[in-house]
């Protein structure tokens, strides 16, 4: 049965339903409902909740909890995620699974607490050191957020990697009816890697990211690259309404994709054949959705609550095949469907 849930609480409830055993976090707006919810519910479900002394400590507690073989989760918002990035690099290198929920607010710097998508690069490129990637899911409804949180845990364990779920602040703060539908849990053989103090039973396990031998470290990077190749092959998710005959394609993710949906309907009503592509995974990026567009498409318009970040991935995917335009608002200002329509009409009229 669907119940009315706030986004931040819904992802927390979904994480517990997925068997999350421990939450380590630090207060930051606009994601505070997650640690607040977890502080009460983890106690009820026999799990672990620690409010860490810093974002850095929190992500390193995640490193420890994941090393112990537990399903672990942290959440934060933009400046907090910035502080966690060293830890994310270590988690990737040490092949430890975890879930990181990022409720994006405005930047740069302390910025503001209003919704934003300006941390697309932070999520998909990361600021930690070395060659690493993290799968990134971007839901556009609270229902989808509860589904993707559960999937994210499975993907994290299947590929032994940290996984991010990014929500613009809108999704974290708004309420919608949603139902947590449990999905089958990945069978994670923690004996293969966990350092939970059971070496007496199964022999020693080591969790490590250090390797001072050039050839050996290169091999380890190549193994990581193979894992990423598998993720790219198997885990891309997107939605597309593009049909043969469409002339314009709008691309948007997260809550703004719902605003773009209204713009697409309006444009079609005005006789401009328009389709929408909504990436659900931001990494791996749905390149194929753009590379397989029908020949009728003349222009692509990317709409984001940023100065233009995902637009770069769209350009990389299209590799110069089509003109790619951009429309964005920042600082917590959210575009109206009419603004997108206006930009689209300008493009259809031949403008850039």
């Amino acid at each position: 049965m669907k119940t009315l849930m706030k986004g931040n609480e819904a992802v927390s409830a979904a994480a517990i339903a997925a068997g999350c055993k421990a939450f380590f976090g630090y207060p930051i707006t606009p994601q505070n409902e997650i640690p607040e919810y977890m502080s009460a519910k983890m106690a009820e479900s026999g799990g672990v909740f620690v409010q860490a002394e810093s974002e850095i400590a929190a992500i390193n507690m995640i490193y420890g909890g994941a090393a112990a073989g537990a399903r672990v989760m942290t959440s934060s918002s933009s400046p907090g995620i910035a502080l966690k990035q060293e830890g994310i690099s270590y988690l990737c290198a040490a092949r430890l699974p975890c879930l990181i929920v990022s409720v994006m607010r405005c930047g740069p710097g302390l910025g503001g607490i209003l919704p934003s998508q300006a941390d697309y690069f932070q999520a998909t490129r990361g600021g930690g050191n070395g060659d690493y990637n993290t799968p990134v899911y971007a839901p556009n409804s609270i229902q989808e957020a509860t589904d993707l949180v559960q999937k994210a845990f499975n993907v994290a364990e299947q590929y032994r990697t940290p996984v991010m779920v990014v929500m613009d602040g809108l999704l974290g703060q708004m309420m919608e009816p949603a139902e947590i539908k449990p999905i089958p849990r990945f069978k994670n053989d923690t004996d293969k890697y966990a350092t939970n103090g059971e070496s007496g039973r199964r022999g020693r396990n080591i969790v490590n990211s250090l390797n001072l031998q050039a050839a050996a470290l290169e091999q380890s990077n190549l193994r990581l690259a193979e894992v990423y190749k598998e993720i790219i092959k198997n885990e891309v998710m997107y939605e597309s309404t593009v049909e043969d005959g469409d002339e314009l394609v709008i691309a948007a993710y997260g809550t703004p994709s719902r605003i773009a949906q209204n713009a697409v309907a309006e444009l079609r009503a005005r006789g401009i054949k328009t389709g929408l592509i909504r990436p659900v995974t931001l990494w791996p990026f749905p390149d194929l959705a753009f590379q397989s567009l029908p020949s009728s498409v003349k222009n692509v318009l990317v709409c984001e609550l940023s100065m233009g970040q995902m637009v770069q991935d769209v350009r990389l995917a299209l590799n110069g095949k089509l003109p790619v335009h951009f429309y964005g608002r920042t600082g917590g200002v959210i575009f109206e469907p009419e603004e997108i329509v206006e930009k689209a009409l300008e493009i259809a009229g031949g403008g850039q």
Partner: protein, 247 residues
């Protein structure tokens, strides 16, 4: 033939990577013997820092984790909370514990995490080539204090046991030295007490061990032992700074 002495089963066959005359080897041995004697080797998790003991996870015969610089107490928190039956210890130097990781150290003690910290105080950054540490003594020359540490520029050396003793939730804190046999024996006792308290779920335990760095100090191994005794011990008095389990 009777075996008089053998390597502790708490250490594996790997050769230690420490410099000649460095006391890390002695402390490794004491920790390893303790884990065996308390019968917790099979439950133990060793957390290595960044620094000379970065490879410690490779030497102890139990689960091992390599942590980011300074973050070992946070990693230990995550492991111990998620695997409460494990026996978790961090093995950290002064740069790791008292500079970049001060917050993690203070707050692990503040939460009363049921872990054991083995703190190697050798008054210098060893691994990176002998730079000034928060524990470097006044007038001590290092590669980043070439004229000697001065109070006006770098402040007075930090006293970690004294600092953590002021934290209400810390349980057991002792400072020892390994510069001679009687003190090595006392250090073993302290390490054993700390792990015993952890087994009994008593809370945060730390043994600070005054150690040598002949390479970083530009001293012979023998002179290094003298430096600990004559220079370090007067500023860092040995003793029990807190013992929540004392009768």
């Amino acid at each position: 033939m009777a075996v008089i002495y053998e390597k502790s089963k708490g250490l594996n066959e790997r050769a230690l990577t420490y410099c000649p005359g460095c006391t890390h080897g002695i402390v490794h041995k004491l920790v390893a013997e303790t884990l065996v004697e308390l019968d917790v080797l099979g439950r133990a998790v060793a957390i290595a820092p960044v620094g000379c003991s970065v490879f410690a996870y490779d030497f102890f015969n139990c689960d091992g984790v390599q942590a980011a610089h300074g973050r070992a107490p946070a990693v230990a928190t995550g492991i111990k909370r998620c695997a409460p039956d494990s026996i978790v210890f961090t093995y950290q130097g002064d740069g790791d514990l008292a500079a970049i990781g001060t917050a993690e150290t203070v707050h692990a003690a503040h939460r009363g995490e049921n872990i054991t910290v083995i703190f190697i105080n050798n008054a210098i950054y060893g691994m990176t080539g002998g730079q000034l540490a928060p524990t470097t003594l006044i007038d001590q020359k290092t590669s980043t204090s070439p004229f000697g540490r001065s109070q006006s520029a770098q402040g007075l050396p930090i006293k970690v046991c004294e600092m953590l003793a002021a934290i209400p939730s810390s349980f057991y804190l002792e400072r020892t030295s390994v510069h001679d046999v009687p003190n090595i024996r006392k250090t073993k006792k302290a390490i054993k007490k700390a792990f015993q308290y952890q087994i009994e779920n008593r809370g945060f335990t730390m043994v600070e061990i005054l150690s040598t760095c002949p390479t970083g100090w530009n001293l012979t191994p023998v002179d290094s032992m003298g430096f600990v005794k004559d220079q370090m011990m007067p500023y860092y008095p040995l003793g029990v700074y807190k013992d929540g389990g004392a009768e």
